[in-house]
Amino acid sequence: MNPVGLWIGVNLQVKSSGITDVGLKRDGNEDSFSIEDSLGIYIVADGMGGHLAGEIASKISVEIINKVFRKWVEKDVSEEDIFGEPDSSLSRKGNYILGGIRLANRVIYELALEKKEYHGMGTTIVVLLVSPSLVIAANVGDSRIYLIRDGEIERLSKDHSIVAEQVEMGMMTEEDAENSPLRHVLTRNLGSSEEVTPDIFEIEPADNDCFILCSDGLTDLVNDQELLDMTKKESDPDALCKNLINVVLRRGAHDNATIISVLLTGIERPKSGIFKKVGFLIEDIIIRLQKSFKKIIQ
């Protein structure tokens, strides 16, 4: 167990809810999602590709990541024995997710290559893992993970789309990006190349953290501020998911929309304790040193 886990209250309560809707303009739902409270892993995938291929790509990715993650956790497999080169800046579970995403990518890639009807298929993916000591957010593509904490909303995922990169480089405003004809063109997804690099982000959980995982069917129609406002109004995951999907449907729902909401409670961080603070500080310094050392080597 991670040593940090011993220092904080482990009376973690997780409440989660998920919903998906085909929308008003589409015939099929290419989104997939999964909720595994026992493992604390939540996944949303938004598939693409003709006929049923998009649906299959998103299903496969969710299934594979869940399956190998469960297996690796049960056997407590070492980082070296999962899939691909481990990332030493990540925790063991972070590496499990990294390995799972890589594995799913390879399988979808080979399928798309091999079968004519699957040619060109791919999927986005967002994975959230919650545990008492650590929250891990991983993504490829333009599906998102939001964290709402202390009345503020933050994206834990990074959009891998052309317009997002342009916005990041300061070449396009957010407003232009929303209207660009290229706004749905991805720079990364599962299935388009043999290797994929997900963005993985690890943070410490806090009491009343609310996470929202979603496909672009939601974020095309509901902006960050509205998400925050709605979460403030109603943080219960079941109600929140229903409220959000209703907004999407009211606004035309041109695409499939999928939403998972996860609420963490029962994390009590001791407020005092100089030793603990020093402990956190030392750990933080060590982690930073490790990361900068790794950068220098690279």
């Binding site: 024995d81 070449m171 396009m172």
Partner: protein, 502 residues
């Protein structure tokens, strides 16, 4: 080097021989023997080194090396026979060095797949029906019972799917690595049944072959038009030469299969829009705009019947070495600009000016094709990740998703002009994102950096046409046409003056 050493030895031996009145002989078989030895050692080390590991192979190499050297010495000193071993030793050392280098560098960069990774991939490939890929991965596993069980189950699955040849291959592989359960029986049984099923499988193969022929290639009619041949490939489908039987007129039929590019639920909407745009474009009657006769659909194919033109599109004339003469380019751009001006006045924006959409006819005329089609298509959402056509000729405002006006076509025409005179695109990028950045942010390099003969005035025209800010471009395509026409006439005038001086 053994060669050098043996030479010294040889001198000593020669001297010794002279004193003892002995001789050194070199039997004629020796060169062949040497070649055979080189081959044998070369093959042996190539196959055995990788197995032995780095330390093992180093010991092995030095051992063989010493052996070769001492053989030469012993043969020479004891029997007076000269066997040239320098090449053999050289071959040995070079194979060794190559393998060590490969080990050091290549393996570090391309991390080898571990057996566990191969196993995971294999299981998941099999789970998704990718049996061949799974088999490839399973072959990399160590030959233990666990792997045999996996491979055995793969063989069973092949058998279930009636892919007897592959099942046999898999079972024979298992037999080759030590056998498993009833593997021998299965092989024997499959071999028998394989023989009896050959005829059956041949028939199915034949049937499948015929079925695939009924696609586009075998088509003879689209709508009411009789297909005579294929003219080329458009951005969304084939272009056919066809005949309208009603009035015996030759037409070019451009086909589009929207179902390949768009979500099914959007296709109807796009088709509607496509027909509407084609109708508007069809009303444009101008000598430099291709005439549209008819649009329609046939099954899942949407088509557009246009006047049949004999000529080539500008794609042929955009690379260095195939460029048109400068004067000819001015003429072509002038005519396109006039056509655009005419369309703009009728409120039609082309939106997709690029070499493939301009035809150069045998009689010297220019025809612009595909008016407005881009509008029908670009404003609809394609399947995520699908980009239609190339953004090379897009204007900054098109990329930014802003409102388009006729000045967007002027930018695209500027890009085309630039390419026709330099043989280079004004904007490059290593990837799409880089290209878009260039178009929206970076001024194009001077055309004179590619071709210093280009007149300065032409550079100014390009700067104006490809200004990032639409307000700084020509106010209309007509204005651009006039400037280019004036330049062309000025060049003609200078030529006449020059020839009259002569």
């Amino acid at each position: 080097m053994p060669g050098v050493v043996s030479e010294t030895q040889l001198n000593a031996q020669l001297l010794d021989n002279m004193i003892n009145s002995g001789t050194i002989s070199r039997p004629s078989i020796m060169p062949y023997l040497e070649i055979i030895l080189i081959l044998v050692i070369g093959i042996a080390v190539t196959f055995f080194f990788p197995i032995k590991g780095r330390i093992g192979s180093t010991v092995l190499v030095s051992g063989i090396f010493l052996l070769i050297l001492s053989t030469e010495l012993i043969l020479l000193i004891a029997m007076g026979i000269w066997l040239k071993t320098a090449y053999i030793a050289g071959c040995l050392v070079s194979v060794y060095l190559a393998l060590v280098l490969k080990d050091l560098f290549i393996s570090e960069v391309f991390r080898k797949e571990s057996p566990e990774e191969a196993r995971l991939l294999g299981i998941n490939y099999q789970g998704k029906g990718l049996l061949d890929q799974a088999f490839k991965k399973f072959q990399r596993l160590p030959h233990d019972n666990g792997s045999k069980e996996l491979i055995y189950s793969l063989g069973l699955e092949y058998e279930n799917k009636n892919r007897i040849d592959k099942a046999l291959e898999v079972y024979e592989y298992i037999a080759g690595i030590g056998g498993y359960q009833d593997i021998e029986e299965r092989i024997a049984r499959l071999k028998k049944s394989e023989k009896s099923s050959v005829t059956g499988s041949l028939q199915t193969f034949d049937g499948a072959g015929k079925a695939s022929d009924s696609g586009d290639r075998g088509r003879t009619w689209i709508g009411r038009y009789e297909i005579l041949g294929i003219l080329g490939k458009g951005s969304m489908g084939l272009v056919y030469k066809a005949q309208d039987p009603k009035i015996n007129r030759l037409v070019a039929i451009k086909t589009m299969r929207f179902s390949d590019e768009f979500e099914e639920d959007l296709i109807h909407e796009i088709k509607e829009r496509f027909f509407r745009e084609a109708e508007i474009a069809g009303q444009l009657s101008h000598p430099s705009i291709v005439t549209i006769h008819d649009v329609g659909d046939d099954g899942d194919l949407t088509y557009m019947a246009m006047e049949f033109l004999e000529g080539e599109d500008l794609d042929k004339f955009i690379s260095k070495g195939n460029l048109l003469s400068f004067r000819r380019v001015l003429d072509v751009i002038f005519k396109i600009a006039e056509a655009l001006d005419f369309a703009h006045k009728a409120s039609v924006i082309h939106r997709d000016i690029k070499p493939a959409n301009v035809m150069l006819l045998k009689n010297g005329n220019v025809k612009v094709t595909d008016f407005g089609i881009a509008k029908a298509i670009s404003s609809s959402r394609t399947k995520t990740g699908v980009i239609l056509g190339t953004p090379n000729y897009m204007s900054p405002e098109q990329i930014m998703g802003q409102k388009i006006d006729p000045r967007s076509d002027i930018f695209s025409l500027g890009v085309l002009f630039y390419q026709l005179i330099t043989g280079e695109l004004p904007f490059h990028g290593d990837n799409l994102s880089g290209l878009l950045y260039q178009i929206t942010q970076i001024k194009h390099p001077s055309p004179r950096s590619h071709n210093p003969k280009i007149p300065g005035i032409c550079e100014q025209i390009l700067d104006k046409a490809m200004a990032k800010d639409p307000n700084k471009r020509f106010r209309s395509a007509g204005e651009m046409a006039r400037v280019i026409n004036a330049l062309g006439q000025r060049i003609d005038q200078i030529r006449i003056e020059k020839s009259s001086i002569k």
